[in-house]
């Protein structure tokens, strides 16, 4: 099917095309909710069964980095929303600006995530043979805490691995979505520099915006689930 201007051949009108794209993205986001729902369910059930191990796991995460990342993502949602606004109101120069800001913030998030992952590697907290829940112990308080947890759950090492499997699984999946989002942003920036988005045609910006907000919302759920429950320092 050939394109006439911005209208793809299978559609009759731009209005129909916009409606289809936006509905398509909403439906896609529903599938994403179901997709993440499966891991969230697995996490919730296991958290309820092994509170001690999961509590220890949560306490190994760096609250400052996690909190910083949350702020970064919320800010990126704001700049994304501004980009959508700019495209709808025809402020052609502002669109690439806000998109680039969003991309920068997203990259900051991923960079911090890399730092966090590296810490976990150093502390032997990556599930597998070298996993050791007590390898990262630094002070007496942590040691006591760990001993108390071991008393509650002698199989703590195995169950903490479950926590870290889910931690890496969930944040990894989220990071993968961020990477895809970053790719989409790059494409949008290129197209917006060519001045393709107008108040009449801005569906791609709008649809990628929906996607970006969704990925942020996933993090808004991940952050308390992984970092904040059973926090006591």
């Amino acid at each position: 099917m050939h394109r006439t201007g911005e209208l793809y051949g299978q559609f009759e009108t731009l209005e129909q095309q916009r409606e289809a794209s936006s509905l398509g993205m909403w439906v896609f986001l529903i599938t994403e909710v179901m997709f993440f729902g499966g891991v969230f369910l697995t996490y919730t059930i296991n958290r309820a069964i092994y509170p001690a191990a999961f509590g220890i796991g949560s306490n190994t995460l760096d609250l400052r980095l996690g909190g910083f990342n949350t702020a970064v993502l919320i800010a990126s949602s704001f700049t994304m929303a501004m980009a959508v606004w700019a495209s709808q109101t025809g402020k052609k120069k502002l669109i690439p600006l806000f998109l680039t800001l969003t991309l920068v913030l997203g990259s900051v998030f991923l960079g911090v995530k890399v730092v966090e992952y590296a810490q976990k590697f150093e502390h032997h907290l990556v599930p597998g043979r070298s996993f050791q829940i007590d390898a990262h112990i630094e002070n007496q308080a942590q040691k006591q805490e760990l001993e108390a947890a071991f008393a509650k759950d002698p199989d703590l090492n195995a169950h903490a691995q479950l926590y870290f499997s889910l931690y890496f699984g969930m944040t990894g999946l989220h990071a993968l979505h961020m990477l895809i989002g970053a790719g989409l942003l790059l494409w949008l920036i290129r197209e917006s520099l060519r001045g393709r988005f107008t108040p009449q045609y801005n569906t791609p910006v709008e649809v990628v915006g929906l996607y970006w907000h969704f990925v942020d919302i996933v993090w808004i759920y991940l952050f308390p689930l992984l970092y904040l429950i059973d926090r006591h320092k």
Binding site: A151, K152, D153, P154, D155, A158
Partner: protein, 326 residues
Amino acid sequence: MQSGLPLFPEQASNFAGSVDALMFYLLIVSVFFSALITFLIGYCFLKFHRKKKDEIGVNIHGSTPLEIGWSVIPFILVMVMFGWGASVYINYRHAPQDTLDIYVVAKQWMWKLQQPDGRREINELHIPVNRNVKLIMASEDVIHDFFVPAFRVKADVVPGRTMTLWFRATKPGRYHFFCSQYCGTNHAVMGGWVTVMEPAEYAAWLSGSSGEANPASAGEKLFAQFACNTCHQSSGQGRGPSLVGMYGSAVKLTDGTTITTDDAYIRESILNSKAKIVAGYQPLMPAFQGLMTEEQILNLTAYIKSLKAQQAPPAMAIAAPATGKR
């Protein structure tokens, strides 16, 4: 055994009759509707066959009363099925108190079964007729399933859990049992025979036992070995609750709820002792997850249950006839 071309398996347990009766009801409903629909298709096919090439049918769009009718009537029929089926199932899930407990460990690809007096069997099960039997089952590896067609009972044996299955054999004989949850290469040969015997015969068979330790006494040794007895003193003065008479009784927990002590609760309390603490006690007990084999858990369970039966020794109970209405 069976001869000719059997369409129904033998009925040899308390459940067989009720399951078959339910089956007949379902069968009658099914045959009636299949026949009705086949007849209607045939009738319409012949009667309303197209006579001329360009002929069309009568323009009928629908009828709300008919729609309501053929929604409500099937609904009533299936609700009868639901209720009846549920009542059979509830009976199947609630074991009576006075059971002969057989301990079963499943592994790829064999069944290890043990009588209350300690006699062990592999892929063979001997039980007395007309006596309530409860299988207390655990798996060492994957999910298995204990299935006796002649008894119309089956239960999955899920690793990490204690599963129970009860029945009362009503007819002496030898019956197949199968593993009916796919469990790997030799799934199809992981089965054997249940031998149902007259009580006297069964007692004679048991007396041929080679004097192996019964599960309860093995459990008693473990109880000392794991130092359970330092806290769970029978006097009730220890740091843990006394376990005498606890099995089958209602226990109040720290969170205010009340539960009935059963096999699953004993297992949970051993492996993950903090999960449900008896009211008035501290969560001091270590968890034994990963420290005990399935068989040790079953032995300890048997011992804890025997603590209740001190007034009536288990040896007597075996020969006793079935009581209760089930």
